[in-house]
């Protein structure tokens, strides 16, 4: 089998084409958002919101409302509860996050278990890339496009919010609203990515690409290009490898992102571990020569 056949063979199956489409869309969207999450220090918040949307999605399913709506409501509910627990008790934010999202997530699990439905728990938790229906695909495309558009159009405001929210305030903007919009977009993105890799692995797609890009560049504009490019590449590699190895697709996608991160972490020209070691050794040698 030559390389072309290797790449085209899976595309003969509709489910593989859909899987690839959903993976690439979810990967790009999560990666763009991850650039801000990593810089604001909201990685754990990404974890929390992506889990906390579960009961919202299930309830939306039960009453026949759009999944995105349920996700939005519970995404905001989670953020509000985390803030409330943090501000009105002596607990710190990490404990508040841990309590709120696990409780909401468990509520979702219980709801699924008592709801007679076609909702398969495994699919929600680990994703169901190979079982994406045409309707699922359309939902991912529309939700993804809307979220992506808002992120890109208002990217300068989000970046200013991440860098210096006091200055945003001084210019008469409302940083609270900017933050709330970003969290809303996080909830929407969770719904999209849930389809691809499931609740548990969404957080990987919301952190790894932005973190990888941050180790490669000093320009936020470039991060916004590098992160989605890496994530899409990892997504495609993951889907293909899982096809040939008959392995978990969502798992393979995130594993690929993790592998790319490791390479960058080690070999990034400026921030990489290897470059640092070399710089240290060179400095030592220079000192010895000088001495």
């Amino acid at each position: 089998m030559n390389l072309i056949e290797l790449l085209t063979e899976p595309l003969g199956y509709t489910f593989m084409v859909r899987a690839l489409a959903v993976t690439v869309i979810a990967a790009i969207l999560c990666a763009v958002l991850s650039c801000w999450l990593v810089l604001i220090g909201w990685s754990l918040m990404g974890d929390a919101v992506s889990h906390a949307v579960l009961p919202g999605v299930v309830l939306a399913y039960i009453v026949g409302a759009p999944f995105a709506l349920g996700a939005l409501v519970f995404g905001f509910l989670a953020v509000a509860l985390i803030g409330a627990v943090r501000d009105t008790s002596r607990l710190k934010e990490d404990a508040a996050i841990g309590i709120v999202f696990t409780t909401l997530f468990s509520f979702g699990l219980v709801l699924i278990s008592v709801t007679p439905s076609h909702l398969d728990l495994n699919h929600i938790i680990f994703g169901n890339l190979l079982g994406v229906s045409a309707a699922d695909l359309w939902q991912v495309i529309i939700l993804g496009a809307v979220t992506f558009l808002i992120l890109i159009l208002k990217r300068k405001d989000f970046t200013l919010y991440a860098f210096d929210s006091t200055h945003a305030h001084a210019l008469g903007m409302n940083p609270r609203i900017i933050g709330a919009v970003l969290l809303g977009l996080l909830a929407m993105t969770s719904v999209v990515a849930l389809q691809a890799v499931g609740v548990i692995l969404v957080v990987a797609m919301l952190i790894i690409p932005g973190a990888s890009a941050y180790l490669l560049t000093n320009s936020f504009g470039k991060m916004l290009v590098i992160a989605p490019a890496l994530a899409a590449l990892a997504g495609i590699i993951g889907v293909y490898v899982s096809y040939y190895l008959d392995a978990s697709t969502g798992g393979m996608v995130v594993l690929s992102q993790g592998a790319i991160f490791v390479l960058i972490y080690l070999f990034s020209p400026r921030q990489g571990l290897v470059a640092h070691r070399f710089a240290v050794r060179r400095r030592r040698k220079n000192l010895q020569h000088a001495g």
Partner: protein, 246 residues
């Protein structure tokens, strides 16, 4: 003529902690005023009150004769943060930081126009950072960092500038550049409020000084306010005689 800043009898509590006690300050247009006081004396709280980040329990705040929100929306208030408030690893260049000063002049997507680019280049030239415009913000020296944020205020065309410890960790050359620049801004009608530990630099820079200890102990000519017996009121001793002040 309306005052640039008019804080009257502002009292601020954080929980049960009294941070500002019936503080009143007036800042005239075209003047530089130094804000002097110990850590915890309410300098930051006063800044936050002027910017509308903190609402006083009692008293009133007028900026350019209007409420702080209106003043902010008109782009009148420029702000230079203290070192600790900035993420120096943030992937943003000097030029991009200064460009954020122009956001109030831009539309929905903050796309810069020719006038914005020109304002940014001019501001960078005035703070003598033309060589460093593409550097990541953390790669500047202490003084250059401060100048970059001053440039942001200038690009913003803010007629009121609030500077939080602008001389902390700053070399002599940058201090001189910033001092000269702030005097120019004031001479062109800008109003500047500076919180500082650098008492030696104050008489050259400021027209007025305020001694703060939760309440305003004194407002007046810097030479007078910085008299040892007055500083003793605010600090418990005379920090100018100690060489380095803590």
């Amino acid at each position: 003529m309306t005052l640039a800043i008019d804080v009257a009898n502002a009292t601020v509590h954080y929980g049960s902690l009294l941070a500002l006690d019936k503080a009143s300050i007036q800042l005239e247009r075209g003047s530089v005023c130094g804000l002097v006081g110990m850590n915890g004396s309410g300098k930051s709280t006063l800044f936050k009150t002027i910017m509308g980040l903190v609402k006083p329990d009692t008293g009133s705040v007028l900026v350019n004769g209007t409420n702080p929100l209106q003043a902010r929306k008109s782009g009148a208030i420029g702000y230079v943060p203290q070192n600790e408030a900035v993420d120096w690893d943030f992937p943003i260049s000097v030029r991009e930081v200064v460009m954020t000063g122009r956001y109030g002049h831009m539309g929905f997507t903050r796309r810069p126009r020719k006038a914005d680019h020109e304002a940014v280049e001019q501001a960078l030239a005035r703070v003598e950072l033309t060589e460093q415009t593409s550097r990541q913000i953390g790669q500047l020296s202490g003084g250059q960092k401060k100048r970059a944020f001053v440039a942001r205020c200038i690009a913003q065309e803010a007629n009121i500038m609030l500077l939080d410890e602008p001389f902390a960790g700053v070399d002599k050359r940058s201090e001189a550049t910033i001092t000269k620049l702030l005097r120019e801004v004031a001479d062109q009608g800008g109003s500047i409020l500076i919180s500082t530990h650098d008492l030696h630099a104050l008489p050259n820079l400021a027209d007025q000084a305020i001694l703060l200890m939760r309440k305003v102990l004194m407002q007046g000519d810097p030479q007078l306010v910085l008299q040892p017996e007055n500083l003793a009121m605010a600090f418990g001793l005379d920090p100018m005689n100690r060489g380095e002040d803590a």
